[in-house]
């Protein structure tokens, strides 16, 4: 096992918009190590979402290569991509994307169901990851009975359920207030310290500061890569709001 988790080589993606070709990504080559915490930023239309979709195996590149965990995943079928997502990648979304009317534990079990794990093992694993994000008391709550921060923790637990090599967080704090955002970022930081590789998309500089490295996108290319000093991390955000009680 090498220390490189993923590597892209001249990764490019074109879209047809009517009769016009849009070059969303114009050749991105990047290497991300195991245990890294990378923030991807840039204005809208910069190609960061396209980049994340490719890293998340939700899409295939027009050209270039993407090697994830020593496997070239740039030319796979839809079902093979689904399996890669299932086994290697955990997703955290801006709007949580939890199944409504479904208890937290079943939401967390969802990826495990698609990998065919036994029910009892699934329960055990789901309890474990829910405890890891501090929700051991809420495993049977439905999303509608939880605050935004709690819902996002459930989503993080779901992302962790299948022991992924990579967690992709797409604007994970976009729907949360400042204090809750900080809490969620602390959860991600803690996971990262425990060895999980995280790639975070955000347009908020304050949130990006929680990462170890920042990749700036513009016009489909990386224009800047910054490594943050470790000491910048914990107190990187000025808290302007009053902390809110998370319990609904």
């Amino acid at each position: 096992m090498t220390n490189t988790l993923l590597k892209t080589e001249a990764l490019a993606k074109d879209y047809m918009l009517g009769s016009e070709t849009v070059h969303a990504l114009r050749g991105v080559s990047v290497e991300i190590m195991r245990g890294d915490f990378v923030a991807v930023t840039g204005p809208s239309g910069s190609g960061k979402s396209t980049f994340m979709n490719l890293l998340g195996c939700l899409d295939s590149p027009t050209s270039g290569r993407y090697i994830l965990d020593e496997r070239d995943v740039s030319r796979l079928t839809a079902d093979d991509l689904a399996e890669v997502r299932n086994r290697k990648i955990g997703f955290v979304f801006q709007n949580f994307n939890l199944l409504p009317r479904t208890p937290a534990i079943e939401n967390v079990e969802l990826p495990l169901r698609y990998s065919g794990m036994q029910r009892s093992q699934r329960h055990e694993r789901a309890r474990e990851v829910l405890a890891a994000v501090g929700l051991q008391d809420r495993i049977h709550h439905h999303p509608s009975q939880m605050s935004g921060g709690q819902q996002q923790r459930v989503a993080i637990a779901r992302a962790l359920a299948n022991h992924p090599v990579l967690v992709l967080a797409d604007e994970p704090t976009g729907a949360l207030d400042t204090q809750t955002s900080v809490d969620i970022m602390h959860v991600l930081q803690r996971l990262n310290r425990d060895g999980i590789t995280i790639i975070l998309v955000t347009h908020e500089p304050d949130i990006a500061k929680f990462a170890r490295r920042i990749l700036r996108f513009r016009d489909g290319r990386i224009i800047d890569a910054t490594t943050l000093p470790d000491c910048a991390q914990p107190g990187a955000v000025e808290i302007s709001d009053h902390p809110k009680d998370e319990t609904p």
């Binding site: 079902d79 689904a82 399996e83 997703f91 994307n97 199944l99 698609y114 029910r119």
Partner: protein, 409 residues
């Protein structure tokens, strides 16, 4: 376990819009319910027909004198061609025959005190009772010597008894048949209505000799001519063979050339049964058409609602795909939901159909007989409808692009 969870998911999804789910399955409910009620009603009707035929005798053949081709065809019974000798020959020569009962028949006025009643008068031999398996409600049958002599005795049918002797036992009374006094010895068992709808109990039976000489004799029934011969065959299975042999025998006896048509008619009860079976087949076909239209409409309803559901839950589909659902996982999920929907409809339809059949039994003219096979078929068909009409929406869901699906609001 891996099978149960998708089913539970399906029910969870359907519970969200209970009203919508139930309304969607209305077509299936009506289709399945209608099939079960109508099959039950049809089976009940057929059972009743079978009962009627049994009362008339499934192993019974009737021979009537018929028309000739000579000049004008006058219809059954119009020509005096059948005699008691024909009956005796049939009894002697046809092995399958158990008993032969020639009879003469006419109509007449019956008077008892100040009551009168117009009915069929049948002159019979002792064999008639055996052939028709006809017993008595009251009194006694004719004695052997009463058949041999000229005894003026009569057995009255149930309808006649009720009209001339309401609430009384007529045995021993004297009635006048076409002005000739006869002594009533008993009342025949009720046989009910025949398939043709005539009342089999609206008649009186008298011995052949007085019928011929005193009551019906003025007609062209002199000599040994008869109006009909009832023939009981040993086993119902032998009826058609016996019928063929009797036809041959009578043609021979009547010296008909091969080019000539029969001068008699043979009627058997199974023919009538076949006619009934034929019309019930037509009925079933019509029913199947109605049911399939209803199930088709129900299926389209399910397809419609599943398309709506796929659209509403695009984000959920995207999420499931993101966490690793393959296309067939999504396909199965929505297919399961469609089948669950149509099977719920099928179950409600079955309950409704059974209830409807019970209501028909309580208020209808005959009992509806619920057919388990109809229930099984209805249930299977409703599941098949779910698979067939659920496939397109489910496939549509499974072909969604995960990025587009996740982005959808």
């Amino acid at each position: 376990m891996m099978l149960l969870e998708p089913v539970r998911d399906a029910f969870r999804a359907l519970r969200v819009n209970i009203m919508r789910s139930v309304l969607t399955t209305l077509g299936i409910i009506i289709g399945v319910g209608a099939v079960i009620v109508m099959v039950a009603v049809g089976a009940g009707a057929q059972a009743q027909v079978a009962e009627i035929i049994n009362s008339m005798g499934a192993d019974l053949l009737y021979v009537f004198p018929g028309s000739t081709t000579s000049r004008v065809r006058l219809g059954a019974g119009s020509l005096p061609t059948l005699t008691e000798e024909d009956a005796e020959a049939i009894q002697k020569e046809i092995l399958e025959v158990q008993v032969v009962a020639p009879y003469i028949r006419g109509r007449g006025q019956i008077i008892s005190g100040n009551q009168n009643w117009s009915t069929a008068i049948i002159g019979v031999t002792p064999e008639y009772f055996e052939a028709r398996e006809w017993g008595l409600d009251n009194g006694r049958s004719f004695a052997a010597e009463e058949f041999r002599g000229n005894s003026k005795v009569v057995l009255v049918g149930n309808t006649v008894a009720q009209n001339l002797f309401p609430g009384q036992d007529p045995s021993g009374s004297i009635i006048r048949i076409n002005r000739v006094p006869f002594k009533v010895t008993g009342v025949l068992q009720a046989k009910g209505y025949s398939m043709g709808g005539w009342d089999q109990d609206d008649l009186v039976l008298i011995p052949m000799a007085p019928a011929r000489k005193k009551v019906l004799g003025e007609r062209a029934l002199s000599g040994r001519l008869v109006n009909g011969i009832a023939i009981k065959i040993k086993m119902p299975d032998l009826v058609s063979i016996a019928e063929k042999e009797i036809r041959e025998l009578l043609r021979q006896r009547h010296r008909l050339r091969p080019s000539q048509e029969n001068d008699f008619w043979i009627r058997n009860q199974t023919e009538a049964l076949e006619t009934r079976a034929e019309s019930s087949r037509t009925m079933s076909l019509l029913l199947a058409a109605v049911a399939s239209v209803s199930l088709m409409v129900g299926g389209i309803g399910i397809m419609n609602i599943m398309i709506v559901s796929v659209t509403e839950r695009t984000r959920e589909i995207g999420l499931r795909m993101a966490v690793g659902a393959r296309r067939r996982d999504i396909l199965m999920q929505f297919l399961t939901e469609a089948v669950a929907l149509s099977m719920i409809g099928g179950l409600i339809g079955i309950l409704l159909g059974v209830a409807g059949s019970m209501v028909f039994t309580a208020f209808g003219d005959w009992p509806a007989i619920i057919q388990p096979s109809a229930i099984a078929v209805a249930f299977t068909v409703s599941a098949a409808v779910g698979i067939f009409f659920g496939f397109y929406p489910a496939r549509k869901a499974s072909r969604l692009d995960p990025i587009d699906a996740l982005r959808r609001e």
